[in-house]
């Protein structure tokens, strides 16, 4: 499912990273973040993504200077490769947005909970409130590949009339493409991660948004609500503690930043699901 870039491209990225290292040498008083330079609504070089804004706030709260190392999170080895090539290489100390309980980084306490969502035109009035809603049986469903939505659709054989999207593997793609496909009628309903599209949805009032509840109805545990955290490098407990302190002390401000950027917060389903 993943497009493999050539070895040459990998080398090219490595060289670029090397350059970035020189651009942001480690310095006391720096809040060093690795981020994608071109992946809205998460982050971009212009600082327009919600992860940028959270990073800026945390740096401010710590009284530190925000320093970025830019690297593609949608490269051939995906987010894991990004972590290996940046955080693990000490090019930065923090990444801003990972699922709590990720095991290749050291996550902070969660600073927000959100959910996968159903998106469809309000005018259609579909009766959809879970993956088990009968209405889904007759609709063309868009989903992001390798997400819980894909698993849920497979279990129910709804995948047979579903359309894959792959914005997380295609560095030129955008999570917005699914919303556009709803607009053109290519799909009737989309299932995607709310924070990936919340910013765009703010400007699309014609679309209805319904959270996808966690399910057990098929026997398999299906998790669609996730706690999200910042993360330090494995073993860097000092930075992790620093992040935890900011999250505990500034929950209101962090929540406000997320809300202003269209990230809809869902009820914490509790850490029990992790």
């Amino acid at each position: 499912m993943r497009t493999r870039l050539s070895k040459l491209a990998v080398v090219a990225i490595a060289i670029l990273l090397g350059v970035a290292t020189i651009a942001s040498p480690a310095r006391a008083g720096d809040f060093r973040v690795c981020a994608d330079p071109d992946y809205l609504p998460f982050s971009n070089r212009a600082g327009e993504g919600f992860e940028n804004k959270i990073a800026a706030y945390v740096a401010h709260a710590l009284g530190e200077r925000l320093v970025y190392t830019w690297a593609n999170t949608r490269g051939p080895d995906g987010f894991e490769g990004f972590v290996r090539a940046t955080l693990n290489k000490r090019l930065c100390d923090v990444v801003m947005d990972v699922p709590y309980a990720s095991d290749d980084v050291l996550p902070s306490e969660p600073y927000y909970f959100s959910s996968y969502i159903f998106v469809f035109p309000k005018s259609k009035h579909y009766d959809i409130d879970s993956m088990d809603s009968p209405a889904l049986k007759d609709l063309k469903i868009g989903f992001e590949q390798d997400t819980p939505a894909e698993t849920g659709l497979k279990i129910r054989t709804l995948i047979l009339h579903s359309v894959p999207f792959d914005s997380a593997d295609d560095p030129t793609g955008s999570p917005r493409q699914m919303l556009d496909a709803i607009g053109t009628g290519k799909i009737a309903v989309g299932i995607t991660w709310e924070p990936a599209v919340g910013y765009f949805l703010q400007r699309m009032p014609q679309l209805a948004v319904v959270g996808v509840p966690n399910a057990r109805s098929q026997g398999s545990p299906e998790q669609y609500n996730f706690p999200m955290a910042m993360a330090a490098r494995l073993g860097d407990h000092a930075t992790q503690k620093q992040l935890d302190r900011v999250i505990a002390a500034h929950a209101t401000e962090l929540t406000a930043i997320l809300a202003a950027n269209g990230v809809k917060l869902y009820k914490p389903p509790s850490v029990a699901q992790l």
């Binding site: 994608d36 992946y39 998460f42 999170t73 949608r74 995906g78 987010f79 894991e80 990004f82 990972v98 699922p99 709590y100 309980a101 990720s102 095991d103 409130d129 879970s130 088990d132 809603s133 009968p134 992001e144 390798d146 997400t147 819980p148 698993t151 497979k154 279990i155 129910r156 054989t157 995948i159 047979l160 914005s167 997380a168 593997d169 999570p175 995607t192 991660w193 924070p195 990936a196 959270g211 509840p213 966690n214 399910a215 057990r216 109805s217 098929q218 026997g219 398999s220 545990p221 998790q223 996730f226 999200m228 009820k267 389903p269 509790s270 850490v271 029990a272 699901q273 992790l274």
Partner: protein
Amino acid sequence: MKRSITVGGVALIAVLLGIAGVWRPGTAQAPATLAEMAKDPNQWVIPGLNYSSTRNSTLNQITTDNVKNLSAAWTMSTGATRGHEGQPLVVGDTMYYESAFPNHVFAVNLDDYSTKWEFTPKEDPFAPTVACCDLVNRGVAYGDGKIIVDALDGVVYALNSSNGQVVWHTKTANPEAGQTVTSAPLVVKNKVLVGVSGGEFGVRGYITAYSLSAGKQVWRAYSEGPDSDVLIPANFNGPKNAGVSTWQGDQWRVGGGTTWGWYSYDPELNLIYYGSGNPGTWNPSQRPGDNKWSMTIFARDADTGEAKWAYQMTPHDAWDFDGINEMILADLTIGGNKVPALVHFDRNGFGYTLDRRNGKLLVAQKFDPDVNWATGVNMQTGRPEVVASKETKAGVNVHNICPAAMGSKDQQPASYDPVTGYFIVPTNHNCMDYQAFTVKYKSGFPFVGATVKMYAGPGGNRGAVIAWDATDGHIVWTDKERFPAWGGVLTTAGGVAFYGTMDGWFKAVDTKTGNLLWKFHTTSGIIANPMTYMHNGKQYVAILCGVGGWAGINLAAGLTNPTAGLGAVNAAMDLGHYTQLGGDLLVFSLPQSS
């Protein structure tokens, strides 16, 4: 019903019936207590028929000889099409029952089948979105002129049984916190016991006793936490504060152990019995420890809620084997001694017989021989002897675990027939492949890599109804079923056992042999529990049908390898080939001539 004093009473009534031939409920004295009322076989006043949850009626008009003539007597739509898992009550000349969500409650006049009153709660619209496994309901309770109704959204209503007016209501669960209620309440003396569902959403399970008169909370006992929360007294025979110490950190706060099954009561010991569900986190690797008191049979003082004893069946659950199935109280002769026993058929595939006075484990044997996650239960420690290769954990794919997560039996209640001494048990027969839990991140998109693939167990049948001897733990007979036997069982003094199937057959079999005596194809598949009552001298058998929207179909769909489902068999079509959604009450009796 298994207590000697009660058996005497039943025998007396049986004699009266034998002599009179026809029982006239109108001529009976109004019994003083629910326990007394439950001795009158014409009525069905407790969800499990009696406090012992035997679902064994002394009515004997319908027999192994004449059941072949059984015919539909009257029917009624429930107005709901989600899964119907409960059973009607009959109190005097009125039948009361609750449909699946939206939880319509009906009072039906048994003389002319007119609706005396109807009640539908106005529910929190958020509730259905956090209900785990279809929007089922397992029935109403009766006590002191009130019908007690649990609504999915966690509100408990006490209705005036004569007019349906709300006498009191109280909120026992909060859907916003993932809590819902699907179980049937139990009225014990002047209290109502209510459980909670939502183990999938990190709910810390609890059971609450409310006053029957006003709905005021009398006590609440949690399944996890410090002993003060679990209501474990200082003189408890077991580890102290295990509801905290067997968890890592504060995980007990979201420890699961919900209480969505059935409740039983022993009036002589004044103890209530019930089981707690799975521990709160899906990934066992992330919650080291025994995770007490999930997966536990609790015996609690009915007045104070204090735990008398507790027995954890599946420490550190790695398979989702909730321990909530019914507790059947029966006096059995084991090793020459008469024992006040508790018999429980757990999701984990073991049939347990315990001394209900003290929780001493007497028998623990597989009630499906294909169970393979454990070789047996250590009778000294009570712990299962787990097969290491069948234990699910992060990073490991485990194949061919039997039973599957839905268990060798779920909440569908068994019945105890004291004549044969058999427990007639509706069972599931599925195995599963369990793919490892790992939290992953695809740039921008979180997910948990965990899938359970379920498929029919050895032999290809997905369920069976069995007869079980709980004195030594062996299977007497087995009736295989195409689908999981997801409905309960009724046994009667006529020697007949009744049960329904998901593919829509309502069946009568010989309790002694399991031989099929009669069957009837119903409007929709059955996942509910048969009951029987007598009205104007005629014995009736009633069943709710309604395989439950997606739920029933899910059960079938989940049985096929989901990847195979991509192109091969569409298992969702499988159950649909046999039945359709619906929601009906069907009532049967013998025609006049027989």
